[in-house]
Amino acid sequence: MTDGLIAMIERLKPFLKEGKSVLLPIYGRSMRPFIIGGEDKALLLPVKSPVEVGDIVLAWVDGRRYVLHRVVKTAGDSVTLEGDGNIVGEEHCSQTDVVAKVEEVVRPDGRKKNLVSRSAMRGWRVWMALKPFRRIMLKAFSVLVLGEPIRHKKQAS
């Protein structure tokens, strides 16, 4: 995570504190297939109550960086996060480290996509149940849905 990115997130915190929501472009693949980095903009909402399993949040994790990931476990003040599009890895923070909650994203065409509706949450639970097959499903998603090439050309050395 670059200093520039951290600086930008620090800049949007005062607006959240005022009770405003912030529309933030998202990059990266760690929340596929639900949030497409490079395309979607996340609508960040101020956090009004403790976050729960299934919430998508922006948080300062492991004392060193910001992530926009899914809450997979809570225990008292401790929160465990995981990227929906990650095969391995989880992050940890406390409830007070959570900066914002995400309930919808805005697609490039301006359409809003609700990520916390009943059907969206059902979709997430299915996604989590199929975790053993996540790698192949992400590959299928990137090729069939996003139109990415099957193989990336090796860089000339």
Binding site: M8, E10, R11, K20, S21, V22, P25, K41, L43
Partner: protein, 89 residues
């Protein structure tokens, strides 16, 4: 030229930025950083309402010791950027 509605100058974390700010939502996909000169010019443009490169140049030269030709060239560039980003009309 005029500033478009919905863009606000805010000082956040010691920096001056322009954000597209509605009543409820702030659009961070369109954040513009302003240095000291650009901040002055933006505030001037707001004061003047209907402004031009000339009117801003006059204001800048009144406030800062700078050659008119150099100021005009810089302001022309900055205003050009604002037009491209879409924050003035």
């Amino acid at each position: 030229m005029k500033q478009k509605k919905g863009f606000a100058l805010r000082t956040v974390c010691g920096e001056n930025i322009i954000v597209a700010e509605g009543l409820e939502t702030v659009d961070f996909s369109k954040v513009i950083n302003l240095n000291e000169t650009a901040t002055f010019l933006w505030k001037e443009a707001e004061k003047q309402g209907d402004f031009s490169v000339d009117s801003l140049t006059e204001a800048l030269c009144k406030e800062y010791e700078v050659e008119k030709a150099i100021a005009a060239a810089d302001i022309d560039r900055i205003v050009g950027e604002w037009k491209e980003i879409g924050i003035i009309e």
